[in-house]
Structure formats: C-alpha cells, structure tokens
C-alpha cells in the first residue's frame, strides 16, 4: 500500500515524536512542579518562556534553535567540539525541535493535575516521615500520573505533526529529518505526488485522532485506579 519511502517517513515520524517526548517529559514534570509549588524570583519569566512556543511561529523557534545549536552556536559548538554531537540536519535535531514545540503541552497538563493534588496529602506524608523526594515519588507522582500520561500522549500526537521548527532547524532530508508532514509537503511539490500526499495525510490524520482517544482512555482508566471517580 505504501512505498518504502513513505513507510520510512511514517517510522521516522513515530521515532522523532517518541524521542521528543522521552526527552522533554522529566524536564516538563520538574518545570510544572516548580511553577505550581514554588514561589521564586523569575517564576513569571520561566512561565512565559515555557509557553513561548505556543504563540510564536514555529519557524521562529526553528530559527532560534539554529542560532543556539548550530555548529557555530553558543551551545552547538561545544556540543560538536567536545562530544561530537551535531544536532542540525539530524534526526536528534528534529526530535529536539519537536520537544521544544510540544514542551508547553506537557507542562500544562502536568501542572493542571498538580494543582488538583491536595497539598494536605503531602503534609500528611511529611508527618509520617517521608522526605522531599520520598513523598514526591510515593504520593505526588502517582497522583499526577494521569496528567503526565495524557500530557505525554497529546505531546506525542502533536509532535507527529510538527513542521515549521523541524524544517527550519533540521531541514528536509529523507530518512533523516523528513517526517510525515515534511514528506507530505515534499510530495505536493513534486509532479505526480498527489497519491503519496493523500495516503500520508490519511495516516497522519488517523494517528492524531488515535492519539487523542488513547489519551482520554488512559486518563480515565488511571483516575479509576486512583479511586477518584
């Protein structure tokens, strides 16, 4: 049904989205916790920076990454010189661009469920002898698990569709950075590519809807497990 090149784009999309979520999830949980549980100088600034990718054009995000992580950039150069890691024009770079774009989605979902956790439960855990990490992992984390999972699934589904940041930062290289949306775009630019574009678009649509449904199902199941509904 699909040509090997089309399969490659599907597989690459899944891989990029998965890596982006794996990369941003722990950081997003930490940032969400900071934003909802701590009052510190610069909190509004952090809040704004985290949410920037939601409002600025993806191409601008990609451009910013290019400046920072380019081989001559302030972060990209040491990465390249010391560790031999090159993010521009690579699959890892596509995953990074996707992670930055979907980061606010996870933070918002986790923060929302954190704000639903009664701080009194954490106080109860303290009085029972649980230190900060102990109570985070044994009380807070299990209680926000539904939020984390649904945030991760939504970020994954949204990541499958990232276009602007990837094409700007990681370019459009088949087999390397050409994810589904980029492949669809390339197909529409190619004479006779209408069939490919239609097939890939249908797959893209299906995966996004499946992701949304899965997120809802998982969240509902977990809520029941936690005895909240």
């Amino acid at each position: 049904m699909l040509t090997p090149e089309e399969w490659q784009a599907v597989r690459l999309s899944l891989s990029v989205a998965l890596r982006s979520v794996a990369f941003s999830l722990p950081l997003a949980v930490a940032v969400a916790w900071l934003l909802s549980r701590r009052r510190f100088l610069g909190r509004p600034l952090l809040d704004a920076v985290v949410h920037l990718p939601l409002v600025i054009p993806p191409v601008v995000v990609g451009w910013g990454l290019l400046i920072l992580f380019g081989v001559q950039g302030p972060i990209g150069r040491p990465l390249h010189d010391w560790f031999g890691i090159r993010l521009v024009f690579s699959t890892a770079g596509a995953a990074l661009a996707t992670a930055v774009m979907t980061f606010p989605l996870i933070v918002r979902a986790v923060r929302l469920s954190l704000e639903g956790v009664d701080p009194g439960l954490e106080a109860a855990a303290r009085s029972l002898g649980a230190g900060p990490f102990d109570r985070f992992f044994t009380v807070t984390l299990p209680l926000i698990a539904p939020g984390i999972l649904s945030g991760a699934i939504i970020a994954f589904a949204a990541g499958l569709g990232e276009f602007g940041a990837i094409i700007t930062f990681a370019s459009n290289i088949p087999g390397e950075t050409q994810t589904l949306p980029l492949a669809i775009y390339a197909a529409t630019q190619t004479p006779g590519g209408e069939g490919t574009a239609a097939r890939l678009a249908a797959i893209s649509f299906t995966m996004a809807v499946a992701g949304l449904l899965l997120a809802e199902l998982v969240a509902r199941h977990l809520r029941r497990l936690l005895g909240r509904s």
């Binding site: 009664d118 009194g120 439960l121 106080a123 109860a124 855990a125 303290r126 009085s127 029972l128 002898g129 649980a130 230190g131 102990d134 109570r135 044994t138 009380v139 299990p142 209680l143 497990l225 936690l226 005895g227 909240r228």
Partner: protein, 369 residues
Amino acid sequence: MLEVTLRHAWPATRDGEGFSLDVAFRGPTPGVTVLFGPSGCGKSTILSAIAGLLRPQSGRVALDGQVLTDTAARIFIPAERRRCGVVFQDARLFPHLSVEGNLRYGLRRAPREAEGPSFEEVVALLGLGRLLARRPAGLSGGERQRVALGRALLSRPRLLLMDEPLASLDVPRRAEILPLIERVRDAFRVPILHVTHALEEVDRLADTLVLLEGGRVLAAGPPEALTAEPGLTLLAGRRDAGVVLRCLVAAHDPGRGLTRLDFAGGSLLVTLRPEPVGSTLRLRLRARDVSLATAPPEGLATHNVLPAVVEGVAPAPFSPHEVLLRLRLGPTPVLARLTRDAVGTLGLAPGQPVWALVKSIAFDHGGPA
C-alpha cells in the same frame, strides 16, 4: 513534658483581618493535652507548628527535653524527622493506596529501633481487619478517621497530634471513635495533643486543658480546676457550664439500680453505670444540676445531699438574672447555677455552710477516664 512557646503574626490582607498568635503552655508526657477554644482561636495553627508543618516567626517547642523548634538557636527540625503523628480533621488518606498501604506508609518509615504497637495490634484495636484491602474512596467518615488514627499510630510517633479528628463526623460516629482514642491513650501510652471545640472530648480526654481565645491562652491546667473557674464558664456555654469531677467507681447496687462514686470531698449515688468497680471516671457535674438548701432537707427524692461551703457568688456571664455560686465540697470546687432571686431569698453569701443537692440522673453524659 511537652513545652510550647509560639509567636506568629499574619498581617491583615484585603480578604481578612490579621491574626496574631502568642501562646505558651506545657503538657504532660505521657498524658493528654487538650487545646480547647472556638474556631479561629489558633488551636490548629499551634498543632501545625508543633508538627513542623508551620515555621513560627519565633518560639520554642521541646518534647521530653529534645528541642524541635527554637528560633533563637536557629533550630527547626523538619516535620518528616519530628516523629509527630498527625490525625487530620479531613483524614488525608492517600487515595492511590489501599487501607493497608496507608497504614504501612508510616510504619515503613519509622526508625527500626522505635518502639510501638505492631501492625496487628493496631488493626485489632481499631477494628480495621475488614477494611485492609479497601480504597479510602469507599470508606465512611468514621472508617476514614479510624484508618487515619491507625496510620499515625503505626508511624511510631513520640507525640500524637489530633486536629479535631471528630469534628467532621456525626454524633453516632463520634460516639464510636471517642472510646477508641481513649483505648489508644491507655494501651500505648503515647503522649497526645488533642485539638477540639467539643466539651465532651475535653471531659473525657484531658489531663491538661489549655483554653484558647483569639490566639492567646486564657488559662491552662488540670480540667478539674479550670472548669470550676466561674470566669471561664462562658467557654462551656450556658447549658454545660460545670466542673469536671474525677471519680472512682466504688460500688454497684444493681438491686437499687445505683452506683456509688467516690471523689475527693464526698461520694455520689448515680444511675447504675457500666464501668467496673475500681475504674476511674471523669464526670461533668453541670452547674444547672446542682441545687442548694440552707438546712438539711427532708422528704426529698434526691439521693445526693452533700455538705458544702459557699466560696464565692458571681453573676452568671450568660444571663443577668442568674448567678453562679462557687462551692467547696472538702477540697473539690463545684459550681451551682441559681436564679438571682433564690440567692437573695436564701441570703447566700461567701463562707456560709449549705447543702448541695444533686440528682442521681444528672450524669447521663460523660464516660470512662
């Protein structure tokens, strides 16, 4: 000995007035210290500060000589290392754990050398056996508080802090939990600080009573002495003002349906009680249940006619037409509530010998101590 000195002020905000707390008191260990006062008097805040969940602006908290908080010496042991078990008003059971998981949460984190009741003992004492596999969401209010009490106990606390654990329960549930708290006190000898605005809990639990109002200590001491202060009766309210008597169950007379209770200063015949002979009881003798005669009365249905001396006459704080008389039965102070008219007619004055009349059925409240 539990020693507490706390000072903390909250500034006034747009949403409310400021509040300041300035208290100092001591409590026995083992023993039960009850903080009693109207809502908003700061009693739960004091409990939070002792638990280490609130950092006071200044103050000192020490338990059996170990300093938990001392702002002057910059000591503040974090709550998780204080080993103060807390039973919260809203139970705060972990919703993602079973009842057993909740009970074992503190046990698992208690120091290995800490002494205390075993899991099985606590489950048996609090009747939790049937509930172990259940989730907190499926428990009734009374069951939740029983689990919360068990969970706090199993963390092997050096001090058990109870923040109005009965306040959210209905009357039958309260009647079910209160005896359990007494059993915990008697069986495990863990010192308890109990916060409440219910008089019944004061009468049944308190070894030391701390009366609070508006963030200040009005009075502190043994409840038997404090309840006899006419100036403090307002806290108990018009209906229940009266002294707490510590009594020994001396003898039962099932034939007459009576029990004899001895207290320092005399004995009382009361309706037959369930407690065994030799046990101690704390009973509230309400001022409205005490009548007076200036000569020994005859032909009276009242069993208890006790010689007493009038010690003081004070206007009742709750009514301009009533008077509170402070009597002394041997070493025991007793309050009597009479109309102003009766006091005038009988010409009652301090120093005068009288007869205090108490009906046997006046003690249908209270419980074992």
